[in-house]
Each structure stands twice: as C-alpha cells, then as structure tokens.
Symmetry: C2
DNA sequence: AACCGCCTGCAATTGCATTGCATTGTTTAG
DNA sequence: CTAAACAATGCAATGCAATTGCAGGCGGTT
C-alpha cells in the first residue's frame, strides 16, 4: 500500500515533469510544485491562492512561474472580473488562443472560478468588417456546489 | 443658423438633464458635462478618457461620477481585460443586470471598446444546479474601422 | 436666514501587477 | 572537468488603477 502510493506519487511527478518538458519548460522544484497544485485544484487559481498554498515561496517567483506557464501554453489566464487574474490548465493538445474558447463560470457565493471546457463559446455574427480573434465569456451566478 | 444651434444645444442639455432626473441623479454641472461626453462617444469610455477630456476636473470626482451613474443604472461597466474599466450608456429602459446582456467588442488595433446592443449573449446550457445571474461576453479582434 | 445633505477636491492608501538587479543554480562548450 | 553562458530565484522597488477619509462648498429646504 505505502509502496504503491510512493510509486504513484513518483509517476505523478514523472507526468508533471513530462507536461513541463513537452512545453519546453524546465522542470524545477518550484514549478513542479506549482503545477501539482494547479492540477490538483478543481477551480482556477490566482496568484494569491498559490501564495497561500506555498507561504514559504516568494510571491514574485510564483508570479513568474504562472507567467511562464501561460506563455508556454500550459495554462490559460481568466479575467473573471474580480480584479485578480486566475489561471487554469489548458486542455490536452489545445493551442489555447489567449483567452480560451470555452466558457468560464464565476460563483458569486464561493467566489471560485471554474472552466467549463465542454461549453464552447458560441459563434457570434459580428457586424460587417469586424474580425474576431479571441473571445471571453464569463458567466456569473451560483455553482452546483453552492446551490 | 446660429440661433438654431443654440436652441439645439439647449434642448440637448434639457435632455441630458432629464436623463439624470429620471434616474434620480442630481444634475450638477460636472455630471451634465460627463454625461454629454459619454453620450457623444461611439465607444465606451474609461476614467482616464474622461480625465483627458476634462483635464481641469478632479480625477476623483470623475471617478465618483461614473460610480454614481453606474449605481443608478444610467451606464453599465465593462471589464474588457485592459485593466481599466470602461463605461457606456445603458439602453433606454434597460434594467441593466450588472454586466449587461449584450456583447462587447474590443479592437486590438484602436484599443477601443464598443457595445453591440443588437447582439445578445446566447443562453448557455449550464451543468445541473448552476444558476446564471449575470454574463459578460467580450470579443476581441479588429473592428470595422480598423479593417 | 439657518440648517442639512449631497457634491467636490485634495490627500492618502490599498491591491494587484510588473520590472530591475544581484545571486544562485543548471546547462553546455571547450 | 572547468569555465562561460544562460535560466531561475529572491528581494526591493515601482507603476497603475481603484478606493476611502476628510474638510470645505454648494444647493435646496424649512
């Protein structure tokens, strides 16, 4: 049992490691931890969340870690209107247009932001000569847990 | 001709005045000017825009003017992801759910934000137990003018 | 005319995002 | 194996937008 867990944990690290490598991100200890945290969360995480999870780590380093993840397409950022940017893992193989193409939900009760990857942003018929490059749809209300 | 313009200007002020009164906002000089400016713009305005238009006015007063307009339902705010909040007139008779129900467009070239009141945000079929209260859809790209 | 409340202006502060720089750690070329 | 080159980290400082406190001023009411 113990052994199995250790092996699983090792495997997980291997996987996270691979995730980073695949995106050309050097797998440092901090980054592995950050990535582990992000992927363990059901909701999008803010810099403050990360900071709270690793209170011994430097805020700036965490900030740059998130920025790096975003640049390399490992996570995407979400502006949910709370004033602090949230980050969530990109889907496998997604070339994430900056501000992704799926819907995000912000719960007014628990104040968490979640990705709804199965819900794509509908195509909107823009006026003549308008060209769409990105889109961001944030729905606010109460989430399944809070209802 | 001159006389007609004067009369039209007077009428306009009367109209703006009425707009304010209807929303229970006391029509001070500053507010009339701010409202005139906002309604003369084709695009949503930020606090900085207002500040630039009235460089003799106090930034804080302009800030509070916008806040008052928003509270009273005269304008709605738009978070377009630029980091500064934009404001635009609400449609006649709209009870503007905070973060309105129409689509907004942000042009990556001219960096202006515009309302597209004729384009309603489509209804999204949320997962079980999720309740929608508001929604914000911002499309980014290049606008008609910039193409 | 006196009172009261809203509006305005100035000062100061918060909060999040961002950059500069020196140090440490890791990779790579010789 | 070592040194140079580069990347990541930690600390300090700054930028920028939003926000609040307070005092004075103005308008409207009694």
């Amino acid at each position: 049992m113990r052994a199995a867990m250790v092996i699983n944990y090792r495997n997980m690290l291997k996987n996270l490691d691979k995730l980073l490598q695949d995106k050309n991100i050097r797998p440092t200890a901090m980054r592995l931890l950050a990535l582990e945290y992000i992927s363990s969360q059901q909701t999008a995480v803010s810099l403050s969340d990360l900071e709270a999870a690793f209170h011994r780590a430097d805020r700036i380093t965490l900030y740059r870690t998130l920025k790096t993840f975003e640049e390399k397409g490992l996570v995407h950022s979400i502006m949910d209107g709370t004033g602090s940017v949230k980050y969530a893992l990109c889907e496998e193989g997604c070339e994430c247009a900056p501000e992704d193409l799926h819907v995000h939900f912000f719960c007014n009760k628990c104040r968490e932001t979640i990705c709804l990857p199965m819900l794509r942003i509908p195509k909107i018929p823009l006026p003549d000569n308008f060209k769409q490059e990105e889109a961001s749809l944030v729905i606010k209300g109460t989430c399944g847990r809070c209802n």
